[in-house]
């Protein structure tokens, strides 16, 4: 009596072909035609109490070995594809890691690779993107497209810098950033829920509005009186005792500003709420099938409103991470597209807080890679190097199991009969 469909998915040769080609490129350019000289991978920082030895290897040899390893992974992927099986995620991840190692080794021929520094900075740079992506996920999971992440970040960055400067208290700055950003999101929420406006247009308008307002105030006020209103400095770095002494992990995760710690806490919390609690189940129901949620007595409008608003406040915190958590002052349009990257990260992370954060880290990594590559091997076109992590991402996505599936009711206003 059942009519359930047989699953007959055809697995293509995309993954093995892409992986094989990249492996070949690695083998030839980073290996055979690579650069000579030893490269040292530093696991410990020089300041660490516990010193681990560096791992030394010849740069071109590393390239060759990596290329071969990547071939092996491609071959494995091929053998799976022939049996009509998907390439498991771990293969993609290992593949990416091997590729990145080869690239780092190539860049740092005759020099050293400070792993903790690179990873730690990548995390700090990723925090605004991570928090912006959380705002995006919270909003889109309940069915409201949030293009305004950029504006939310910028609002947070501005308010954090100004309020911290004026009150001389970082806590007030953070609270102001979160509250103002939440108010901004309420505009998006109200227009989308109450007035059924085109959500993308509302989002774009909010972005333009915030850029305009902050540029104006920056020019007219912050630059005139920078000493008093745009000189917050950055928050202190907190070292968590014991944990921060762990090699590699310590400096990366447990020796940071409060904004980073908050981000590390917020991501799993949102994941937990979204997938394990009543609140999350209802929110996802609203984003998938609002009418069904309504018929079991869930208030669709209210749910959407609060998730968008609270998401906005988290983006505000992300903005604060830009100023008082990193740069130390507000600069014109300083979010510089992080909000849009966060938007991409939401999709790349398949509306899952954990995956989205990993994707955001990749973007953080690509930013630090450019800076570091410039220092360690001047003369190499850094724009080209910056491209590499994105190429790796694309491979990872190609290899991912299943398609990215947005919430069904995304961007669809809910009208009650």
């Amino acid at each position: 009596m059942s009519t359930s469909k047989e699953i007959e998915v055809k697995v293509g040769l995309k993954s093995p072909i892409v992986m094989g080609s990249i492996g070949l490129l690695t083998l030839v350019f980073l290996g055979l035609l690579g650069r000579d000289g030893m490269v040292a991978f530093e696991i410990s920082r020089r300041t660490d109490s516990l010193q681990l030895p560096t791992l030394d290897i010849d740069s071109s040899l590393l390239g060759v070995l990596s290329g071969l390893a990547m071939f092996a992974l491609a071959a494995f992927s091929l053998s799976r594809a022939i049996k009509n099986l998907k390439t498991p995620i771990w293969v993609s991840i290992v593949f990416g890691a091997v590729g990145v190692t080869a690239l780092l080794g190539w860049l740092a021929a005759e020099k050293s690779v400070p792993i903790a520094f690179i990873a730690g900075t990548a995390l700090v740079l990723a925090v605004p993107i991570i928090l912006g992506a959380m705002a995006g996920i919270m909003s889109e999971r309940v069915g409201i497209t949030n293009i305004a992440i950029e504006g939310q970040l910028l609002t947070g960055a501005f308010m954090a810098a100004v309020v911290s400067s004026i009150t001389d208290n970082f806590l007030f700055g953070v609270i102001a950033a979160m509250v103002t950003s939440a108010f901004l999101s309420m505009i998006l929420a109200i227009f989308s829920i109450k007035f059924l406006a085109q959500q993308i247009i509302v989002g774009v308008v909010l972005n333009v509005l915030v850029i305009g307002v902050t540029n104006f105030l920056y020019q007219q006020w912050l630059t005139e009186d920078a000493q008093n209103v745009n000189f917050p400095g950055t928050m202190d770095i907190i070292k968590i005792p014991v944990l921060s002494d762990i090699p590699l992990l310590g400096p990366v995760f447990f020796e940071n500003r409060i904004t980073v710690f908050l981000a590390i806490l917020i991501v799993p919390t949102i994941w937990f709420i979204l997938f394990k609690t009543r609140l999350g189940l209802r929110a996802r129901a609203v984003g998938e099938h609002p009418l069904a949620a309504d018929t079991v007595g869930i208030n669709v409008g209210r749910t959407r409103f609060w998730w968008v608003t609270i998401g906005g406040s988290i983006a505000g915190l992300g903005g604060a991470a830009l100023t008082i958590g990193n740069a130390g002052a507000f600069g014109r349009e300083m979010s510089g597209g992080f909000g849009f990257i966060a938007l991409a990260v939401v999709i790349l992370g398949r509306w899952n807080p954990i995956y989205a954060s990993l994707a955001a880290l990749l973007f953080g990594f690509s930013i630090i890679l450019r800076v570091w590559a410039n220092q360690v091997s001047p003369g190499i076109p850094t724009d080209f190097i910056t491209m590499v992590p994105y190429v790796v991402t694309i491979i990872a996505v190609v290899g991912f199991v299943g398609k990215s599936r947005p919430p069904k009711a995304l961007a669809v206003p809910y009208v009650k009969g």
Binding site: K276, A285, D294, T295, K408
Partner: protein, 501 residues
């Protein structure tokens, strides 16, 4: 629990969907609400369920007046509803769907999934539903999804269960199972409101019948009433329940299709190595529960989908049309009535006349060189509107102002007024009033008597039995049998469920 609806009136703008409706549901009875599509049954139930607010009238439960401001209130009062379009979230599990809205929780609002699963299993076992609480809804067949909806209502202690067109998506066997479930529920004291337009089912299961037409109650009846009596109440006049048709005069083979395999949108085999032929002057019905490949097969024949593999071959009047473009297929003499007229059959913002020339926009009687011949279009549209009995103020009326039946007549007129040798009619009478059904059936028979080949795709068994000269039953992408139209419902039902003799 006794439910009373008193003088319910509901208007949408100028349209009165329900007018002064009184209805009493006694405890433990199965009360059928019978009416055509668009008679106002669903509106009435949505008022009852708190989704709509009535403009006049009120609802009483055990004599106490109720004020429902939303479905939450209705549920709290003991009303459960199984909607025509399931209110289930496809990416959630059964347990999550059932629990949604009244989730059992542990500390910090963490969902107690074990408890939720237990509840599903308990109800599922009590009524023999056989549902796995961990299954994802999107992986379940529709029959099972419907049982999940029933579990959902029962888990909220529903004393009155409203079933809105529950059999529309079921195989005959699943329908029988559902009726058994309904009887069981009624025996355990639950009242059931059974909304349908299918007379056979009403007679089989209802204790009392209320007939609704054009938003009003037009009468009530006992289930032992004559079918024709019920039908005439429903439509307001005598209807022919069977179609008069002459024996088929078979002509040459018009369509030959061999080894057809087609993928659906999810890249799965929707049609799996199917072969058949249709002759001129006959109606071949493709029967089967929806989603067994009929849609994809029709789209393939029209050229909308490409076949998988190189063995597929389609000949129309001896000429190969495999892999031809849709335009070439249409030009070679295929007429197509798509299953969803709203999205595929018409451009609803266009006028009737514009819709009539949709597939003859070039080198046709509607054109003059590169231009539209407006005078001719006006004349032809007027003729077709009359000939196909489209009830409209004028041929320049916008299509979405028409009722479903009249919209469908426009589609039929467009397809049959061209020179076609093959007509593919996909769900031609879905959501259409009885009067229009009769008319459309006559047109299809007329096309067949004129020597055209007709492929009728329908999930309505009644329609298939009334029209078909041969019935091909599809199940999971295969034709599991081609049978004569005098085959019994039971045997057809078995075939539709994939049981081959």
């Amino acid at each position: 629990m006794k439910l009373e609806l008193r003088g319910i009136t509901k208007r949408f703008g100028a349209v009165t969907a329900n007018e002064d409706i009184d209805l009493v549901i006694e405890p433990g009875e199965i009360h059928a609400l019978l009416g055509e599509n668009g008679a106002g049954k669903s509106t009435l139930m949505n008022v009852l369920y708190g989704l709509y607010t009535a403009d006049e009238g009120h609802i009483e439960i055990d004599g106490v007046r109720q004020n429902f401001s939303g479905p939450g209130d209705a549920m709290a009062a003991g009303i459960g509803m199984v909607h025509q379009h399931f209110m289930l979230i496809p990416v959630f599990t059964v347990a999550e769907n059932v629990a949604l809205g009244h989730e059992p929780t542990k500390a910090f609002g963490v969902i107690d999934l074990a408890q939720a699963k237990k509840q599903v299993l308990e109800i599922s076992e009590r009524f023999g539903f056989n549902i796995d609480p961990d299954a994802l809804i999107e992986d379940l067949p529709v029959g099972a999804q419907q049982r999940v909806e029933i579990i959902k209502a029962l888990s909220r202690d529903a004393k009155i269960l409203v079933l809105d067109e529950p059999t529309a998506v079921l195989t005959p066997q699943e329908t029988d199972e559902l009726m058994e479930i309904m009887r069981q529920l009624a025996k355990s004291g639950t009242s059931i409101v059974f909304i349908t337009h299918k007379l056979r089912e009403v007679k089989a299961v209802a204790d009392r019948i209320t007939v609704i037409r054009l938003g009003k109650v037009v009468g009530s009846a006992k289930p032992d009433a004559e079918t024709s009596e019920l039908a005439s109440l429903m439509v307001g006049r005598e209807v022919m329940l069977t179609v008069n048709k002459k024996p088929a005069v078979l002509g040459d083979v018009v369509l030959e299709a061999e080894h057809i395999t087609v993928l659906d949108d999810r890249s799965q085999k929707a049609v799996n190595d199917v072969s058949f032929e249709v002759r001129g002057g006959e109606i071949l019905a493709l029967a089967g529960v929806q989603g067994n490949g009929q849609t994809e097969l029709a789209e393939f024949l029209l050229g909308l989908r490409k076949p998988l593999g190189s063995k597929a071959k389609v000949n129309l009047n001896g000429k190969e049309i495999t892999n031809k473009s849709v335009r070439e297929v249409l030009e070679s003499g295929v007429g197509f009535i798509p299953e969803d007229r709203q999205s595929d059959g018409l451009v609803s913002e266009f006028t009737i006349a514009e819709n009539l020339m949709l597939n003859s926009s070039y080198k046709s009687r509607f054109t003059k060189g590169l231009n539209i011949n407006f005078a001719a279009r006006k004349r032809i549209a007027k003729e077709l509107v009359e000939q196909f009995d489209v009830r409209t103020p004028s041929a320049e009326t916008v299509a979405n102002k028409l009722s479903g039946g009249n919209q469908q007549k426009v589609v039929v007129a467009r397809e049959l007024s061209r020179e076609v040798s093959l007509l593919i009619a996909s769900q031609p009478t879905r959501g259409v009033d009885v009067g229009s059904i009769e008319f459309i059936h006559e047109q299809i028979i007329a096309a067949r008597d004129a020597g055209k080949a007709v492929i009728l795709i329908s999930s309505e068994l009644d329609e298939v039995l009334a029209l078909a000269d041969r019935i091909a039953v599809m199940y999971r992408g295969k034709i599991v049998g081609i049978v004569e139209p005098n085959t019994s419902r039971e045997d057809l039902g078995k075939l539709m469920a994939g049981v081959t003799a």
